[in-house]
Amino acid sequence: MITELGHFALVLALGVALIQALGPLVGMYVNPGFGRIAVPAARVQFVLLLISFGALVYSFAVSDFSLALVVANSHSAKPMLFKLAGAWGNHEGSMLLWALILATFGAAVAFFGRNLPDGLRARVLGVQGLIGVAFLLFLLFTSNPFLRLDPAPFDGNGLNPILQDPALAFHPPFLYGGYVGFSIAFSFAVAALLEGRVDPAWARWVRPWTLAAWCSLTLGIAMGSWWAYYELGWGGWWFWDPVENASLMPWLLGTALLHSAIVVEKRGALKRWTLLLAIFTFALSLVGTFLVRSGVLTSVHAFAVDPARGVAILIILIFFVGGALTLYALRAPALKVEGLFAPVSREAALIINNLLLTTATATVFVGTLYPLALDAMDGSKISVGPPFYNLTFVPIVIPLLLLVPFGPMLGWKRADVLGAAQRLGAAALVAVVALGAAWAWQNDGPIGAPFGIAIGAWLIVGAFSEIAYRVRLFRGASLKEAATKAMRLPRSAWGTTLAHAGVGVMVIGIVGISAWRVEAIEALALGSKMEVGGYTLTLRDVESFAGPNFQADRAEVLVERGNREIAVLTPEKRIYSVSSMPTTEAAIYTIWIADLYVVLGDEAGNGTWTFRAYVNPLVPWVWIGAVIMVIGGMISLSDRRYRVGAPVLAKVAKPKTQNVDAPA
């Protein structure tokens, strides 16, 4: 009954999405009043999809094995969290979640977008509705989650054990929040093209949505990477796997979009480019969906491999991107060119940022798709792996990182490089000290590593130098005055600083694990010891036990440094009963500037067990940096200027508060 309700709500949602799309996109040309239907339609579509998704989650929670999807992806012995997460841990359920998030963003525009001009809001919702129609058709016709099974089996097949993990339970929702969130930027771009108008106000409306999507995607990617680190059992955190690349591409281009939209907002320049970025960012989100679900790529994520679905997504992709680009070709030349600026200015800096980010995106794109294209053309097979990206992607990103602290220091229109360089003196000094310290500390590590650390330090100190400059710290202002001023800076300034500093923290983490990882692999008997990076590990015990849905061996390892006992680690090796798939549960002891990472391997004979132990320097900083970036994004999002309903509220508030604005 609940299932039928969910199924019915899904079909209804398709009808409502159709109204939401046709009202503004067709109806408005008949009678402008028809556009208004988009707002209630967006709300109703959201509620219907919420009901539908709720019904699916309920079926998973109660293990309703009359539902084919539950049978294929769940099992009655699973812990409740993973039963629930199982609802979106598969192709059909995750597409429903995708559609729900799409509708959520639509409803948010309908709800918070009261200050948007009626025409623009209606058209944005119309485009959003059209995307909804496409994905709901896709769901109902190729990937229906509500199909029944008769007779119902007694139990299900279980969820892939390596996916039974808290971080992974929440990884897809955040990732989709990012992918789908970029659809709003796309809808705004198409709506602007339909109206033939792009102005600073438009950029101001687009930016918070893009920023929200970006934060969500950053968090989603970071969660996936963290999961890979502790679950896959050898401590890698990024594999340049095609599916990882699929999420990295929209992230890179979305980052470029965030920055180019600033130029449109502040200076009215880069309009056409920003429109193109908005279109391509969402296009890459769709490409990502296509790559993951069509089975054209081999990847650890190979779930739901079905060529028919791939073709359907490809058609959706071509329809939306082709349509938007055609519209662009027709309308963009009519957009007025505005905003002159000198070759050295913040505009120019942001153009360089965009150039490098776009090139980096294109590099990942080519690297991911080249093997497919080559195979299709003459059947020859090649692999493009981490060594390729280290040689191409990294050299593109390094100049970008070096230039980041300059951006906020440069003025609009015309700027003074020397002045900016002077303000970054402290950052340069700290970077040089960091370089020297890292150089002295490492014995025979790679030559590039100390430079990497220096770049990280440069980014962190450089980011805070902007705040220091703005509050005149060390330049006449007392510490107290500076602190008061710093508190009064617009939140977007703090957001920028934190996000850029977060990049620096992440760079340091990446350099640490890539350059200075220490590894030891030994076969240990009970009571014997091994050394890794200054730690002594003693195997005290190995015992077998039964978990809720798995059998496991658990080792007890005493960790000592010098003669001091530090921790007792318990790495596990599990075999899940339903799929008989072995997984490793690494034991991680973190001191925040390094992780001790211990993995229990197979029995090696003669009562010994294989152990792999790693000391991974600075690796937690990779994710700490990502979290700092997200916090920066969220602080920026809370800035008064971007609070989407702010102008409405300002009517009641004191007029003075309206002018709290960043000095441009």
């Binding site: 890698g236 150039l355 090139t359 003459d378 692999s383 692999i521 090696a604």
Partner: protein
């Protein structure tokens, strides 16, 4: 050959000498040789896995390939010779760093071509823009009337 090698390796494992190896049974006695083996392993794809190097894979085929690399190195091959040997047997698909040749020049060249095209496009646009005159965006009718309304309202406090 492999028998002697495994016995040596096992001896090493028993003696608990710190060394780098993927499995205790696979390591080579000579640390320099072993390090070369590790470096090569990171460039080779595990053919039955999904986009993993043989260095990080538990698959039996990856293990065989690791041992093959070590056997060749022990036999005195240079790094290039080992790679050539592996490619001759398994094809170029096994290389994670594709070779530069007629089929892959575009792959390797793409980042630089794209960057170059981007730089040229930016320069051309900026040059053209400088010769254009700036036209301020005009307000729509609705905005004009709203502006008037605001101006009128603010006149009577």
């Amino acid at each position: 050959m492999r028998g002697i090698f495994s016995i040596c390796a096992l001896l090493f494992a028993v003696l608990l000498t710190p060394a780098y190896a993927v499995n205790p049974g696979e390591r080579l006695a000579d640390p320099a040789l072993e390090e070369r083996a590790r470096n090569l392993s990171q460039e080779l794809r595990c053919l039955v896995c999904q986009n993993q190097s043989i260095d990080g894979s538990d698959a039996p085929l990856a293990r065989d390939l690791r041992i093959l690399v070590r056997d060749r190195l022990s036999a005195g091959d240079s790094d290039d010779e080992v790679m050539a040997y592996v490619v001759a047997r398994y094809g170029e698909f096994v290389l994670l760093r594709p070779r530069f040749h007629g089929q892959t020049w575009l792959l390797w060249g793409a980042p630089f071509i794209i960057l170059l095209v981007g730089v040229i496009a930016v320069l051309l646009t900026l040059r053209r823009r400088r010769s254009d005159k700036i036209v301020p965006a005009s307000l729509s009718e609705a905005e004009k009337s709203r502006l008037e309304e605001i101006v009128n309202n603010s006149e009577k406090p």
